[in-house]
Symmetry: C2
Subunit: 247 residues, 2 copies
Amino acid sequence: KAKIIAVANQKGGVAKTTSVWNMAFSLGELGKRVLAVDFDPQSNLTASFLEETMILKTTIADVMTKAMDEESLPNKEEYIYSRGKIDFIPSSIHLSVVEANLRMEMGSEKLLANILEPLRALYDFILIDTNPSLGPLTINALSAADSVIIPINPEFYATMGLTDLTKTILKIRKRINPGIQFEGILMTMCDMQTNLHKEVCLEVTEAYGNGMKIFKGQIPRSIRVGEANRYGMSVIDFDILQKITYN
Amino acid sequence: KAKIIAVANQKGGVAKTTSVWNMAFSLGELGKRVLAVDFDPQSNLTASFLEETMILKTTIADVMTKAMDEESLPNKEEYIYSRGKIDFIPSSIHLSVVEANLRMEMGSEKLLANILEPLRALYDFILIDTNPSLGPLTINALSAADSVIIPINPEFYATMGLTDLTKTILKIRKRINPGIQFEGILMTMCDMQTNLHKEVCLEVTEAYGNGMKIFKGQIPRSIRVGEANRYGMSVIDFDILQKITYN
Ligand SMILES: Nc1ncnc2c1ncn2[C@@H]1O[C@H](COP(=O)(O)OP(=O)(O)OP(=O)(O)O)[C@@H](O)[C@H]1O
Ligand SMILES: Nc1ncnc2c1ncn2[C@@H]1O[C@H](COP(=O)(O)OP(=O)(O)OP(=O)(O)O)[C@@H](O)[C@H]1O
Ligand SMILES: [Mg+2]
Ligand SMILES: [Mg+2]
């Protein structure tokens, strides 16, 4: 039975999408069956997964719309696509229309949870990428998740939002999803040669380290990550490609 | 009469807040009268402006709520604060409640415009920081603006969203704010020693350079920017401080 992990932080540009993308492939390399869900109308994750030949018919926006209208869902073969060892459910800009409608729809927090529940048996991990907001889409993702990974870059603006995010997660635990746990804080885009990043990493560890796990592995800033995202490859594959082409 | 400029891009972490913050101080140094408006519930801009001794009573969320309820607005002295030569209107997390309510309120796109209109006579520039979304708050900011600056970092995920953003701005021009112009695209966090950033900057210039201005000044990536934001200083002041302390 799959573990469902949401990757969330309302602060923009902290490497939510990059983390889901690379985690999906790393887990795949370890032989795990992985489903990645793009739950951001920006659809960055979808753009990385998409290969030239793929044509997207049904996205998570369509499935959510059917769920909201209490219509029967499409067959999963219609909205689950594959790329190598990894399956994914794509997104589209229409998900922002779903977000607006979710606000008006009573009891709509568990719509995504109900879509993912029957898929648990098919995977080891289901990873959900979210948009930079604490609105109805992220609430749905957190209501469907067993745990949440919080990526954060070691800078002032990013640490500011941690309090609101943890408050929101605790509210969801109390009211909607009693099972949600904190998987941990993932420090991303770290330049540990700078005093700023050293200091802020320490601050985050002091402020949150008691109540929550902070992953020991800090993801360094490297232009390779941006390059890998651009070529629709994981950092592992891109690295291997680099080694092959440069040597 | 002030020019109202919105700084917007639904892609997260492209330096919207950092650009408003440093532009406000640079214009102030040039002797311009500047009002900065924080229109993001995350309130990052407010955190940079805030000094230890300041106590925020009224924020843009309170003013918007009064405007929505057709009540008379508070005196501007209650919601306009000052820091050095720059005035600012702070935000708070309650602005996300305003965002949810704006969706249900007919004809609410011009609420911010009506708040800022009487302030035009007092300033040369009014700069609006927005949240990473194309929702009701950013629509309000774009409906109030004479022009829009689009910050973008030269990476794959950021360039993807430009089409949606320009479409949204053109719709606003047609339906709500016929005067809105594109001030230009500002390339931020550029590391021009990397092929990736050189290539993407070229791509953006080729794709958008004909129809829109692309500022010649590309903002380089530098840890000084993160440091300045953390100490609540502009890059200019921080630089001067650095020079004084290090020499
Ligand atoms: N370790 C890293 N080193 C260098 N660049 C990185 C790293 N991780 C992510 N990036 C780059 O930083 C930018 C932001 O990352 P990403 O888009 O994954 O963040 P996000 O949190 O998903 O953003 P959003 O809030 O818009 O959804 C991207 O251009 C990405 O390529
Ligand atoms: N030129 C730069 N060099 C290095 N770091 C920068 C630069 N500009 C911005 N930053 C850092 O990048 C991060 C993102 O910038 P900022 O928060 O201003 O973006 P934003 O678009 O306002 O984000 P959001 O979408 O969350 O509102 C911040 O930590 C900031 O300090
Ligand atoms: Mg993302
Ligand atoms: Mg910002």
